[in-house]
Symmetry: none
Subunit: 407 residues, 2 copies
């Protein structure tokens, strides 16, 4: 965490607001079959006008050639080196944070699936027929009531419903270890796996977990579909430097989807729940404009369209964001950055390693010769191509929030 | 070796072939006296056509301002940080590997020169009048027979003829140390130096080496020219992560010259001997097309022409490679990279630190606006300018051989 320690020494408060607008997976490709990227194909008069008075560049999320998941992609945007072990946020904790569960140091979190097993105990559906979210909530209430009626000594259990068949299991107590293997066998026709310790330090936790699971399994054993629990991604909160602490900034995260809220929360941002459209996200940021110095606004749909290989849909999302850009600019952020956490090129239908274009506007930015915001223009931008984890320092500098280094 | 550990975690097998075509020292300069680089002056219709559907960029071999030797230059291309001590391959081992000698862990290798000494034992020619390669082979047979007739307890000795006056001495046995000073005094009119231990751990090895040298020297003492042996670069195999292990790829090295075979061998590539022309190299690669996933093809003559300050010769080599590019493309590699291990600008007549242009073609590359492959065009390429040791990850990514990092 050297970069954060370094920045912490230089941090100074300022009366300035930074907006980091992340168009998830916005970076795209030009190929022989797809001669324009989504940003190139989109009609974006407001972004283009902004580009004319901004500096462009490109970020490399997790290293050349490395395709980042959403976790590492966002950690880099928030100034963390996503490749250090300390920055490895387990899936259980991510899901818990994203679901609004308060995760404290030492708590062990796991992702849960409701599944269906047949009369012999063999799994026939790992998602219990994709039960509805209300049904999931009902089942979680059943589980919570069961464990409260038959508590296990030395461990508190908190269950939280997610979307569809998903839930979060949180264990709280002294000396718990997350070094436990998944119980989800990831295949049909077999029994759920027994919890097993990955390291001997976890054996006591596995004992308690077995007792907890016995109570929980019994409570849903007679359910027609959701009669088994599968657990994955046992993990504890990573010990990340907290952004408000490092940068002396109040940071707000405005994201419609759990995972992004989870990452932001783990970094010390206050998560402000908001809807899934950019209009909702923007409205919520406006409502909280006086409460924060740093605003992380997340747009998921660019990534989803890229994963679908749907260039037209990706273009439409970008154009939709563009039409609302004037509302964002009307808030008069001192620093506005538009970029992505990684590329999700439509021809690849998946995250990729390609550099992501970046636009930075502030009163202190170099207005380079770029007149449009897209991948090709960004190659020649004033900011150059640099590791994504350096973006935070650049935003802070443009916001007047970093002192001179040395005399 | 953090980058290799990181990549090893992400490696996944794929049915794809990567070709890394290294035009040794291809990077060149534009100066007032030399207004075009070799790549700019060369007529390269096939490379230019390829550039139009590829991504260009530039690599920095061993850091800005650092002029790499051939060893560090190639290690960086193969994904190693050439500046770590672990990546320091001794000259003796390089020469041995390049000469096709099997070097096992613990073996100590040295480069040998046949030299001429006068009646007083003073060296009059450090290269024994540049004896012919057949003469060298004869002398090495004499040496090998002598040491087999009078073996030294605890050490096996293997001698291998090189080109002209060069040979390789390999010592094999328990507890040998390479911490031995050169016996080559690097000047005339003096005696060969006695072997000396650089560290006390090498004293036992020096004892054995003295016994070995007594036998060998006696065997050639009456030769008219090659009557002395000079040894340099005592070294053991570096403990480099092996490419096939890290990347789950079968790697083949196709190079006409020993040093490049040596580096490739030390990295875990299988060295396929081939001729010195690009036509030979390419034909050999084609013959082994089904045996490997990764092909390192080496062209030496660009570097040699640069070292001679002969721009026309360098241009001719590049044009010769270009005419054969269709044969390479006909193999349909999934990823083709053309670059150099460093620049050898004709005006400098030596290796230099200047970034090296890079062309990467794959179905997943960004087809940028570059329409020619040369230094100037590459400045504006989509790949940007990056450390050479990141190229391996980029090739793997384009070949579908790296999993997503994190969730």
């Amino acid at each position: 965490m050297d970069q954060h320690e370094f920045l912490a020494r230089l941090a100074q408060p300022a009366d300035s607001r930074i907006v980091l607008l992340v168009l998830d997976g916005v970076g795209d490709l030009r190929t022989l079959e797809q001669p324009q990227t989504a940003l190139e194909a989109a009609r974006t008069p407001y972004m283009d006008a902004l580009a004319r008075r901004s500096a462009l560049g490109r970020i490399v999320p997790a290293g050349h050639g490395i395709t980042p998941g959403s976790g590492p992609g966002h950690l880099a945007l928030f100034g963390y080196d996503p490749r250090t072990p300390e920055a490895d946020i387990g899936r259980g904790v991510l899901e818990a944070l994203g679901s609004g569960v308060e995760v404290r140091p030492g708590d062990v979190a796991a992702r849960g699936n409701f599944a269906t097993a047949n009369g012999e105990g063999l799994i026939t559906d790992r998602r219990a027929g994709r039960i509805s979210t209300p049904e999931c909530k009902r089942l979680v209430r059943v589980l919570q009531a069961a464990i409260e009626a038959l508590p296990i000594a030395g461990v508190e259990v908190e269950l939280t419903a997610g979307e569809g068949h998903r839930f979060v299991l949180l264990l709280r107590g002294e000396g718990l270890s997350p070094e436990i293997r998944d119980t989800d066998p990831q295949q049909l026709g077999v029994r759920p796996l027994e919890p097993q310790a990955r390291k001997s330090e976890a054996e006591a936790t596995v004992d308690k977990l077995n007792q907890v699971l016995a109570v929980l399994q019994a409570a849903v054993a007679e359910e027609p579909r959701a009669n088994r629990l599968l657990l994955r991604g046992f993990s504890v909160l990573p010990n990340l430097p907290q952004l408000w602490d490092v940068h002396q900034m109040r940071c707000g995260a405005f994201a419609g989807y759990p995972l992004y809220r989870g990452v932001a929360g783990a970094c010390g941002m206050e998560v402000v729940p908001c809807g899934k459209s950019f209009a909702d996200t923007l409205a919520e940021a406006e409502r909280h404009w006086d409460r924060f110095d740093f605003f992380f606004l997340h747009v998921k749909q660019t990534d989803a369209a890229g994963e679908d290989g749907n260039l037209a849909a990706k273009v439409a999302v970008i154009e939709e964001v563009d039409t609302q850009l004037p509302d964002l600019l009307a808030l008069e952020p001192d620093v506005l950055v538009i970029t992505g956490d990684h590329s999700t090129p439509a021809p690849i239908k998946a995250h990729s390693w390609h550099p992501v274009p970046l636009l930075l506007n502030s009163a202190r930015c170099f207005t380079d010769e770029c007149t449009m915001f897209n991948e090709s223009a960004a190659i020649g931008g004033h900011l150059g191509t640099f590791p994504a984890q350096d973006l935070m320092a650049l935003m802070l500098a443009n916001a007047g929030r970093l002192k001179k280094f040395g005399a």
